[in-house]
């Protein structure tokens, strides 16, 4: 069996026993990528020599010798950081993001730039300005997004683990579609310094891994306060991995009824309901709860996220970095033409929407109203977490669709984010992990089903522990896609 199929925890034992070296792991991962990534499109680039050099200098730590794939919007000094956008062709990161500094301090090796939807805007990876990524379980289908490349390379054993970012589900949904584990940490858990901003009140960096244990290890490595990100809270970082084994007997798990309405695919509903039964047999108590503002979350999310994006992406003006149009005769034209030539369709669409909802005369009707509804959505979670330790929900109402199927209908695409956007609006943490397989109606190949465990702010230990116990009792996470 190739080293690339191993988990961080397994490789730690092999490295500590001196049975393998970091170079062997890097080679295993990149050999797999060289062999098959032209069919998957999970990576935009990688640099074997840089990885060797980083491995030689890596300090002792939980990740020493472990290569980690990095989503193409997190800055790694000297590596490209193009956000899968044509506007940032040839951009080279001048510094390390804090999450990368922390990763390096734990001994980790940043390796490869993972494909994504341009500027993290999308749920299918079809909006990548470079190339689409494919689902390793069925290459005709999307891997999800926006961290589609991160999920695909982990699922296809072209990476041991990956870092992604989650603004409205962008770690959890591709993890579910590709059959890996994805964690969106609480708002303020992981520094965003060096993360190219999409929506600053929602963005979080988090791990995509093969097991819950690996997610705990990687989260522990990247978390912690940062003087360069004032939104990153000064909360101590618990031993996430050490707390995995604690008993879950008596833990209360809420099933929000609004997450199981008629829009959900029956196979996904029954897989999540079966997972609830499994949790009961592990000693947890299942409680029905209500989250009355669930239906508003998607609309609120797309107003707030696009408003913030329209401001954040104003920095791409062709002055300090990025594409500059050769056609412009004055500064105003330079802005408008450079942005027109550099941004893709979905990015332009979201900038237009965000600009409109913030514009004079419409601010109150859209943006302010969305912020008020955000208060109600957050209260739903506060109320729920007074009754239960965590919530159990589906990740997506439908399985991954075929590439190109929804390309001209952005609203249909947005509606599929119904179960994931609330966590970002409320600032809580969420863990996506495999809970079954299904064969979509329009296909012959099985694809994974994911479930989501939602926890209160900074209750990552609780959802990781629940997820770990479920994973130990099931074997969904051990299944491998047949790539041939």
């Amino acid at each position: 069996m190739s080293l690339a199929t191993h988990t961080i925890a397994e490789l730690r034992r092999l490295l500590d026993a001196k049975e393998v070296e970091a170079k062997d792991i890097i080679d295993s991962v990149l050999d797999a990528a060289e062999k098959q990534d032209d069919r998957i499109g999970g990576y935009l680039s990688w640099d074997r020599e840089k990885a060797y050099a980083d491995a030689a200098q890596a300090p002792e730590g939980p990740l020493q010798g472990i290569p980690i794939a990095i989503k193409d919007l997190i800055n790694v000094k000297g590596h490209p950081c193009g956000c899968a956008s044509k506007i940032l062709t040839n951009y080279v990161a001048p510094y390390d993001a804090t999450s990368i500094v922390n990763l390096r301090e734990a001994g980790g090796i940043p390796l490869g730039r993972a494909n994504m939807d341009e500027f993290a805007m999308g749920s299918s990876n079809e909006n990548s300005g470079i190339k689409p990524a494919h689902n390793p379980w069925d290459l005709e289908r999307i891997p999800g997004g926006s961290s589609g490349g991160s999920a695909a390379v982990v699922a296809a054993n072209e990476a041991i683990a990956a870092l992604g970012s989650d603004t409205g589900g962008s770690i959890r949904q591709p993890a579910a579609f590709c059959g890996c584990v994805g964690l969106k940490p609480s708002y303020g858990r992981v520094s965003r310094f060096g993360l190219t901003a999409y929506a600053s009140s929602l963005d979080q960096i988090g791990p995509l891994t093969k097991t819950v244990e690996d997610a705990a290890i990687l989260l522990g490595a990247i978390s912690g306060s940062d003087p360069n990100d004032s939104t990153c809270l000064d909360e101590s970082v618990p031993d996430y991995r050490g707390s995995l084994e604690g008993s879950i007997a008596g833990k209360k798990l809420g099933l929000p009824k609004e997450y199981f309405t008629e829009g959900i695919d029956p196979a996904i509903r029954s897989a999540v309901e079966a997972a609830a039964k499994q949790f009961e047999s592990l000693g947890a108590e299942i409680v029905d709860v209500s989250m009355p503002h669930t239906e508003q979350a998607m609309g609120v999310y797309y107003i707030i996220a696009t408003a913030e994006a329209s401001a954040n992406l104003a920095r791409f003006d062709g002055v300090r970095y990025g594409h500059r149009s050769p056609e412009a005769s004055n500064l105003a034209e330079q802005y408008a033409k450079s942005r027109a030539e550099g941004f893709g369709h979905e990015v332009k669409l979201r900038i237009l929407l965000g600009t409109y909802v913030l514009s004079s005369g419409y601010y109150d009707a859209y943006y302010l109203r969305a912020q008020k509804l955000r208060t109600l959505i957050r209260q739903d979670f506060t109320n729920a977490f007074e009754q239960v330790d965590a919530l159990l929900t589906p990740v997506s109402p439908a399985p991954p669709f075929k590439i190109g199927e929804k390309a001209s209908d952005p609203l249909a695409m947005y509606l599929a984010d119904i179960y994931t956007t609330s966590a970002n609006l409320a600032g809580i943490c969420g863990l996506s992990l495999p809970c079954g397989f299904m064969t979509p109606k329009d296909g012959a190949r099985e694809v994974p089903i994911g479930m989501q465990l939602l926890g209160a702010p900074f209750a990552e230990s609780t959802i990781l522990q629940l997820g770990h116990h479920y994973e130990q009792a099931t074997d969904w996470h051990t299944k491998q896609p047949a790539l041939g």
Partner: protein
Amino acid sequence: MSAADPDFNIRYVADLARLELTEEEMATFEPQLQAILGYMKKLDEIDVDAIEPTAHANPVFNVTRPDTPRPSLTPEEALRNAPKAAKDQFIVAKVIE
């Protein structure tokens, strides 16, 4: 299709956003944006008059650190990605006639 938001003027918004759009793009964006804005009407169903807005999930205020000089990017590093630069400066189109 009927316009969900008849006030929506794509030329005006594109200008605010500093985006030059082709006629063809405008013809694609307009119905897509109208459909999205139509969906947003769902948010009008709830009375929010007495609700305080939330800007951040974990509100923290006035986070400060000592204002001490520390190493930053060198001019070479800062200009490394510039489309046009000379004499340690970014070159832009002429702004004053």
